[in-house]
């Protein structure tokens, strides 16, 4: 394995995710510029590591008032300024991005971050993005399925011949660089409502992430239940061995009345749910918790009762115009008071067959055991991949998933 760090080895990873919205602060009327908000987000990511969080995940959007059009640029910059933090996405648009470019961009990020990355795939919910990128929103699901099938292959096979419905065919194509240590980046499939995406995650033995923010927990419980059941169906192991991530949302102050008073104007004017349900109703119906750190601990410690033991918990902490100073204070609460207790709570009575959270080191270990990992080394350039032996001088990585039955020698 490479010399550099490759993410925190933990049963559970805790972190934050951001949609990259640029929203007016309703209490001051100040709207940050793109430059201000981009710098603030980098500060937030670095502070996440400082307070002991494990993951920073960034959304992808292609329209104002969002700024994150090019996540790998931002994430590589953040990875370069941190040491342990895993950078990820929430989400990477598998529908409108070319899977070849995703394979290249994220393999680059994987190398530059020393394996401290993974990614979450999603379809995207902004209608015009589809036509802007030459796609049809009615094909959202078939695009997700075909594009991921290609992405999956590009990271696992050195030379790919491929033909599908949505993209120009490939003959003798090699996605470069080859994944770090010959191990494809870990992939989460994110979905709000689509059972086919839970099915897809289960089929490949990948992770499944439920946004869990805007809708009642009972809804996501059914999606995750389905994913776990299908994980077993496709031979990756018992339902509790599937890899589950959850979103969440909290706002804290020392005492809960202050938290409610401070957060209410942001809630009332927030994108998505602003001017809709009351803060109280929304807190009851969804995992949003506004109150003392202890209230957040109690609420999120209960998530395993609803969803089973899981691997990753991300919190939305920086949206709706919250100023940087407030967000950094919130991270202090989260990293200082909430997450240490949650780590202990989640470790208690965690069944031994529940996998640890995915890391590059874990994937390398699952693939190679204690043996040396692949270090892909090209042959001298001969200008084509179509004839002769592999374009690489070394042996390719062993095939198969790093989790479930494939990782432990079972056939798929």
């Amino acid at each position: 394995m490479s010399e550099i760090t490759s993410g925190v080895q933990a049963q559970m990873q805790f972190g934050i995710f951001t949609v990259s919205d640029i929203t007016q602060d309703p209490t001051t009327g100040h709207t940050p510029s793109e430059a201000e908000r981009i710098r603030a987000t980098v500060e937030i990511a670095k502070h996440a590591e400082e307070v002991g969080l494990d993951v920073f995940a960034l959304g992808e959007h292609h329209n104002p008032p969002f700024w994150s059009s090019s996540p790998t640029t931002t994430l590589a910059y953040i990875a370069a300024q941190t040491e342990r933090l895993i950078v990820s996405t929430a989400t990477t648009l598998i529908t409108t991005n070319d899977p070849v470019k995703i394979a290249e961009d994220y393999a680059m990020l994987q190398h530059l971050s020393g394996g401290r990355m993974d990614l979450m795939l999603g379809r995207g919910n902004t209608g015009p993005v589809y036509p802007w990128f030459g796609k049809d929103i009615r094909q959202g699901l078939p695009l997700s399925i075909e594009n991921y099938a290609l992405l999956h292959q590009l990271w696992r096979e050195d030379v790919v011949d491929w033909e599908g419905k949505f993209r120009t065919p490939l003959q003798g194509f090699t996605a470069t660089p080859r994944p770090l240590d010959g191990v494809a980046p870990f992939v989460w499939h994110g979905s709000i409502r689509t059972p086919e995406i839970a099915e897809q995650a289960a089929y490949y033995g990948d992770g499944f992430f439920a946004n869990n923010i805007f809708w009642p927990a009972e809804h996501y419980q059914r999606l995750i239940g389905l994913y776990r059941q299908r994980w077993e169906h496709y031979g990756h192991g018992a339902p509790e061995t599937a890899i589950v991530g959850l979103g969440g949302q909290a706002f804290m102050a020392k005492n809960s009345q202050d938290a409610v008073a401070q957060f209410r104007p942001y809630f009332d004017n927030a994108p998505v749910y602003g001017h809709g349900p009351s803060l109280e109703d929304f807190s009851e119906m969804t995992p949003l918790t506004v109150g003392s750190p202890q209230q957040v601990i109690d609420r999120y410690a209960g998530m395993r009762e609803i969803f089973g033991d899981y691997q990753r918990q991300l919190f939305l902490m920086d949206h709706a115009g919250l100023p940087l100073k407030t967000v950094l204070e919130q991270l202090d609460f989260l990293g200082g008071e909430v997450v240490p207790v949650l780590r202990r709570e989640f470790a208690t009575n965690r069944p031994s067959n529940v996998p640890d959270a995915p890391t590059h080191a874990g994937l390398v270990k699952a693939t190679y055991g204690d043996g040396p990992s692949r270090q892909a080394t090209p042959r001298a350039n001969r200008g084509d991949n179509l004839s002769g032996p592999s374009p690489y001088a070394d042996a390719p990585a062993p095939a198969g998933a790093a989790f479930g039955a494939a990782a432990t020698g079972g056939a798929r």
Partner: protein, 220 residues
């Protein structure tokens, strides 16, 4: 004896509401007509009626439009509607069409949720001059949803409830005609099964696997 369930959606805003009065009459007449009909098993059909007053759900419906999810009371109402064997919908005519609340409720349903479902349309307004709204405004909505709307729609003007009512085709006769059509449509069908969207057979097709979604990519 076969059992069926009818969902009634009433979009009246006042209480008491003449929209609700019409809805109740249509429901009662349909239950009566079903007792006289025969199901596929040649038995009389006993129907229960669940009535949903949209006024009680108005805030939830707006919140659903804004947040994308139905609060518990609305979710329960939606489940009642989409799982019913048949639907009776009654809306007041506002500005030549269904009420905004009525349309908002339809808008939070899954677009496929009413496909093939028998629907009896009712509407009410101050005068009979609005009666065609059923055919130019409400019926196309249910055509778009691929629901099976009965050819008779029942319109009640304020005068239908009093002495200046239509004496040749009184409201009670129109109610019975619509109810009979709906009862026949229910009797022709098997009882509605509850489809679980999270059942792999629902989204993949019976006995299929993810390979079928991959199509030629997986050779299935």
């Amino acid at each position: 004896m076969s059992a069926r369930r009818i969902a009634v959606v009433s979009a009246g805003l006042s209480n008491p509401s003449s929209t609700r009065m019409l809805a109740d009459r249509l429901a009662a007449a349909t239950v009566t007509a079903l007792r006289q009909a025969q199901g596929p098993d040649s038995q009389p059909i006993e129907a229960t009626v669940d009535t949903i007053e949209l006024r009680d759900l108005a805030h939830d419906i707006t919140n659903n439009l804004l947040t994308g999810f139905a609060p518990p009371a609305l979710e329960s109402a939606i489940n009642t509607v989409v799982s019913a064997d048949a639907l009776i919908v009654v809306t007041p005519i506002f500005s030549t069409s269904y009420s905004g609340l009525f349309k908002s409720f339809i808008d939070v349903l899954d677009p496929d949720a009413l496909t093939g479902k028998p629907v009896l349309i009712g509407a009410n307004a101050g005068t009979a001059r609005h009666s065609l709204a059923i055919d130019y405004a409400i019926r196309p909505l249910f055509a778009y949803l691929h629901a099976d709307a009965m050819s008779t729609g029942v319109f009640a003007a304020s005068s239908d409830w009093g002495s200046s009512a239509d004496q040749v085709a009184p409201l009670s006769a129109r109610v019975e005609k619509g109810a009979r059509e709906l009862a026949e449509a229910i009797a022709r069908r098997e009882p509605a099964g509850a489809a679980d969207p999270f059942d792999p057979d629902s989204y993949l097709g019976q006995g299929r696997s993810f390979g079928h979604l991959l199509g030629g990519l997986a050779g299935e």
